[in-house]
C-alpha cells in the first residue's frame, strides 16, 4: 500500500467520522443557542448554515428581537472570537479595518505600525450597518469577499473562520444609507427576524426577568467548523435539482424569454452568487436534516433568504406595493422541478 493510498484511506475514514459527528455537533450548537434564544428556529438555522457555508448574514428586524444576543451566544457556542461595531454616520473606515500608527517598539524607537481594527476577529457583528456612510460600508467589502484588508499598500489576512453578521433596522430609515448592491450580494443570506409568538414571548419574559442567566458552553471550535465546511461541499446534488436552481435564478431576470413577471417588476435579477447560495445552502440544510443529498425542498426552503436581497425591483413594483418575497414566491410557484 503506497503512501498516497494510505493517506486517501485515512482521509476517507476521517470524512466518514466527520459525517457521523457533523449532525451531532450541529445539533449541539442548536441546543446551546436555544438556551439563550427563544424560538427563532429559522433564523438560528440560517445563521448556522451561513457559518458552515463560509458566508455572511444580514439580519433585518426591529430592535429588541435578540439579534445581538444571537451573535453573542453563537460566538460562545462555537468558541470563536467575537467583536462588535456599532455603525454610526461618523464612523470611518479606519475605525473598522484599522490604521497605521506611530508606535514605540521595545528599544524605544518609534515606527509606523499597523493597528488592527475590530474586523480582525472570527465573528463580527456590524450593528445597524445601514447607519454608516457608504465609504465606511465599503470598507467591509474586501474583508467579506477576500478575507483580507489592505492598509497602506499592505494586505493583512483575516483569521478563518471569518463570519460577518450585519443587522439593520427596517423601521428608522431616516438618516440611513441603504447598502449598495455590491455589498448586499456578498451576504449569503438575508434573514428577517420575526416577532416572537405568544408562548415564545412568555419564555423570553421568564428567562430575562429572573436572577438566573443561561450559561452557554462551547460545542465546537473554529478548526472543526473549517473541517465541516469541507464536508458539506461533498454532499451530492442530482442533476434535476441543480436544473431547478438554474431555472429559478434565470427566472428572476427580466431579459428571459418567458419571464413576464420579472420583466414587469424586476430591474435586475439575481447574480450567479444566488445560485451558489441555493446549492451550498441546500447541501448544509440536507445534512442538518439528516440527509446526504440535496432535494428540491431544500432549494425551495432557501429561496427567500438566498435571493430576496439580490433582486432589485423597478418603480412599477414599488408603485404596486410588490415585495421581493411576493415576487419570488410567485416565480417559484410557476416553475416545476420536474
Amino acid at each position: 500500500m503506497t503512501a498516497s493510498e494510505t493517506k486517501g484511506h485515512t482521509s476517507e475514514k476521517l470524512l466518514g467520522e466527520q459525517i457521523e459527528s457533523l449532525a451531532a455537533k450541529i445539533s449541539g450548537v442548536r441546543g446551546e443557542i436555544s438556551k439563550a434564544i427563544v424560538g427563532q428556529t429559522e433564523v438560528v438555522d440560517g445563521v448556522l448554515m451561513a457559518l458552515l457555508a463560509g458566508g455572511h448574514v444580514l439580519l433585518e428586524g426591529a430592535p429588541g428581537l435578540g439579534k445581538t444576543l444571537l451573535v453573542r451566544t453563537l460566538a460562545q457556542a462555537v468558541s470563536l472570537k467575537y467583536s462588535r461595531i456599532q455603525f454610526t454616520p461618523d464612523l470611518m473606515p479606519a475605525d473598522v479595518i484599522g490604521t497605521a500608527m506611530v508606535q514605540e517598539n521595545g528599544d524605544g524607537k518609534k515606527a509606523l505600525g499597523f493597528q488592527p481594527g475590530p474586523v480582525f476577529t472570527n465573528l463580527l457583528l456590524a450593528d445597524e450597518i445601514n447607519r454608516a456612510t457608504p465609504k465606511t460600508q465599503s470598507a467591509l467589502l474586501e474583508a467579506m469577499q477576500e478575507k483580507q484588508v489592505t492598509v497602506a499598500h499592505t494586505s493583512h489576512q483575516l483569521e478563518e473562520p471569518f463570519f460577518v453578521m450585519a443587522t439593520q433596522n427596517p423601521l428608522e430609515m431616516e438618516g440611513t444609507y441603504p447598502l449598495p448592491e455590491a455589498q448586499l450580494d456578498r451576504f449569503l443570506f438575508k434573514l428577517c427576524v420575526p416577532f416572537p409568538r405568544r408562548d415564545e414571548l412568555h419564555s423570553i419574559l421568564d428567562r430575562t426577568t429572573q436572577n438566573t442567566s443561561p450559561s452557554v458552553e462551547s460545542v465546537i471550535d473554529g478548526e472543526q467548523i473549517m473541517e465541516m465546511r469541507g464536508v458539506v461541499r461533498g454532499v451530492p446534488i442530482a442533476p434535476h435539482v441543480q436544473e431547478y436552481v438554474v431555472r429559478l435564478v434565470m427566472a428572476t431576470h427580466p431579459e428571459g424569454p418567458d419571464n413576464g413577471l420579472a420583466s414587469k417588476y424586476i430591474r435586475y435579477g439575481s447574480s450567479p452568487r444566488g445560485g451558489q447560495t441555493l446549492v451550498l445552502g441546500g447541501k448544509i440544510r440536507a445534512l442538518l436534516n439528516g440527509r446526504f443529498n440535496v432535494s428540491v425542498e431544500d432549494v425551495r426552503a432557501l429561496l427567500l433568504p438566498a435571493l430576496r436581497h439580490r433582486i432589485i425591483l423597478n418603480f412599477e413594483a414599488q408603485a404596486d406595493g410588490r415585495t421581493t418575497d411576493d415576487l419570488l414566491e410567485e416565480i417559484a410557484g410557476k416553475i416545476r422541478p420536474d
Binding site: 451530492p236 434535476h240 436544473e243 440527509r291 446526504f292 443529498n293
Partner: protein, 442 residues
C-alpha cells in the same frame, strides 16, 4: 446458401451495432428532452452493482404503472373522440360500414401511437426515480442514488447517500403509491359507448335521424305558417298560391315517395325518392335562410328577374310550375324545385321593391294624361336666313332688337309678359321637359 451463411454473421453484427447505436441515440435524445443527463439512461445496463437490484425492480414497476396510467388516460380521451365521431356519422350519414371500419382503424392506430409515446415519455429510470421521490416523499434520495450509482470511486458521502436511499427501498409499496387509476373520462366514454350502441341499433331499421328531423320540420305547421305569413305580408295577391301549395304538394309527393320506398315494387322509383326529399330539404333550408337574413333574394340578376316576370305574366300561377313532373328525372326535379323555391321566396318581393319596371308598365298600359309631343317641331321657315335672330346677351327685362328682317315688337316685355312671345319650338321643348320630369318623379 453458402454465401448466405458467410454473410449472415456479418449482417447480424452490423444490424446489432446499428440497432444498438439507434437505441442509445434514442435514449440520449429522450433523456435530453427531459433534462436528464444521458449517462443515466443506461444505468441498469451492466454497470450497476447488486445492491441496486431492489431499486431496479421497484423502478421497473413504477415505470410500468406510469405507462399504463398514461396510456389509459390518453387512450380513453381518444376513444371518446372516436365515439363522438361515430355518433355524429350515424346521425347524418346513410352508409356507415366504411366509416365504422375507418374509426376502428383510427382507434387501433391511436392505441399504438399512444402506447409508444407513453413508453418514450417514461423511458428513463431516472425520471421514474424522480417521480417515486415526489410521490413517496423521499426528498430526491432515489434519483440522487441512481444518478451517482455509476460513480467510479464513490467517496464516503456518496456511499452514505446510497446506503441511506437503498435502505428505504423495501418500505416502498409501489402498488399503493402508483395505483392503476380509472381515467377521469371513463364515465363519459361509457356513456358515449352506450349512446353509440343505441344509435347503431336505431339505424338498423331507420334512416339517419337528422334527415327524418328535416323532413318532419318541412311538414311542420309552424314553418308553413311562417312562410304563409311572410308571403301574405309581401304580396297579398299571391297569398293562396305559391309557397303553401308548393310545399304541400311537394310534401305530398315526398309522402308518396316514402310509401313507395316502404312498400313499393319499383326499385328505380325508390332510388329516386331520397333525391326528391333532399331537394325539398335543401329548398326548405334556403327558404329558412332567406327568412332569417331578410334579404328575400334582392340580389337576383336582371335576367333572372325578367324571366320571373315573364313566367308570372305569361304562364299560369307558380303553384302549377312547382309541381314535379313525374316523367322527368331526379336532376330536373331538383333544378325545378330549386327554382321554385327561389320563386316562392323572392318573386313577389322583387316586384314591389323595384319600382322602375312597374312604372314603365303603367305608362305603357294606361293612356297618358298629357298629349304626346312630337319629337320634331317644324320651324317657321326652312331657310335659315329667314329665321328671326335675337341678341343672345340681352339683359332681363330689356327689349330686344331684331338684327335684321324682323319688325320691332309692339310692346316691351316686362315681368313675365314675354312668355306670350315665346316661339313655338321653345314652348314645346319646355312642355316636354316638364312632362319628362313628372314622369320621373312618378
Amino acid at each position: 446458401m453458402l454465401s448466405t451463411r458467410n454473410v449472415h454473421p456479418t449482417t447480424a453484427r452490423v444490424t446489432a451495432t446499428f440497432l444498438s447505436t439507434l437505441r442509445s441515440g434514442w435514449e440520449t435524445l429522450s433523456a435530453r428532452s427531459q433534462g436528464v443527463p444521458s449517462p443515466n439512461s443506461d444505468f441498469f445496463r451492466g454497470n450497476s452493482s447488486e445492491e441496486f437490484q431492489a431499486l431496479r425492480h421497484v423502478l421497473g414497476a413504477v415505470r410500468r404503472r406510469m405507462v399504463a396510467n398514461t396510456f389509459l388516460r390518453i387512450w380513453t380521451g381518444w376513444w371518446c373522440w372516436i365515439l363522438i365521431g361515430l355518433v355524429g356519422a350515424a346521425v347524418f350519414f346513410t352508409k356507415l360500414a366504411g366509416l365504422v371500419m375507418f374509426m376502428s382503424a383510427l382507434l387501433g392506430v391511436g392505441a399504438v401511437a399512444i402506447y409508444g409515446w407513453a413508453r418514450r415519455t417514461w423511458a428513463s429510470p431516472y425520471y421514474a426515480a424522480c417521480r417515486l421521490d415526489v410521490v413517496a416523499g423521499l426528498d430526491d434520495r432515489m434519483s440522487t442514488a441512481l444518478c451517482f450509482g455509476n460513480a467510479a470511486n464513490p467517496n464516503q458521502m456518496l456511499l452514505r447517500q446510497r446506503e441511506d436511499a437503498l435502505s428505504r427501498v423495501p418500505q416502498i409499496d409501489v402498488a399503493s403509491l402508483f395505483p392503476i387509476r380509472t381515467p377521469a373520462l371513463a364515465g363519459r366514454a361509457l356513456l358515449l359507448a352506450l349512446l353509440a350502441a343505441g344509435m347503431f341499433a336505431y339505424r338498423v331499421h331507420h334512416q339517419p335521424p337528422m334527415m327524418a328531423l328535416l323532413r318532419a320540420s318541412a311538414r311542420s305547421h309552424l314553418l308553413q305558417t311562417a312562410l304563409t305569413n311572410r308571403d301574405a305580408a309581401e304580396d297579398p295577391r299571391e297569398i293562396d298560391s305559391t309557397p303553401k301549395d308548393s310545399l304541400t304538394k311537394t310534401a305530398d309527393v315526398d309522402d308518396a315517395a316514402q310509401q313507395d320506398v316502404q312498400g313499393g315494387p319499383a326499385s328505380a322509383k325508390a332510388d329516386a325518392t331520397p333525391a326528391k326529399g333532399e331537394s325539398l330539404v335543401e329548398s326548405l333550408l334556403e327558404t329558412v335562410k332567406g327568412m332569417a337574413s331578410g334579404d328575400g333574394g334582392q340580389d337576383q340578376p336582371a335576367n333572372g328577374e325578367n324571366k320571373q316576370q315573364s313566367a308570372h305574366n305569361d304562364s299560369p300561377p307558380s303553384s302549377d310550375s312547382a309541381q314535379p313532373d313525374p316523367s322527368s328525372g331526379g336532376t330536373q326535379d331538383e333544378s325545378q324545385n330549386k327554382s321554385d323555391g327561389q320563386h316562392a321566396s323572392s318573386g313577389a318581393g322583387d316586384k314591389l321593391r323595384d319600382p322602375q319596371p312597374m312604372a314603365k308598365n303603367i305608362l305603357k298600359s294606361t293612356d297618358p294624361s298629357v298629349k304626346a309631343v312630337p319629337d320634331r317641331v317644324a320651324l317657321p321657315s326652312a331657310n335659315i336666313n329667314d329665321q328671326p335672330r335675337t341678341r343672345s346677351s340681352a339683359d332681363t327685362g330689356a327689349s330686344q332688337m331684331a338684327v335684321r328682317d324682323v319688325s320691332p315688337r309692339a310692346m316691351a316685355a316686362i315681368n313675365g309678359g314675354e312668355q306670350n312671345d315665346i316661339p313655338a319650338r321653345y314652348r314645346v321643348y319646355l312642355q316636354r321637359y316638364f312632362e319628362h320630369d313628372d314622369a320621373k318623379k312618378k
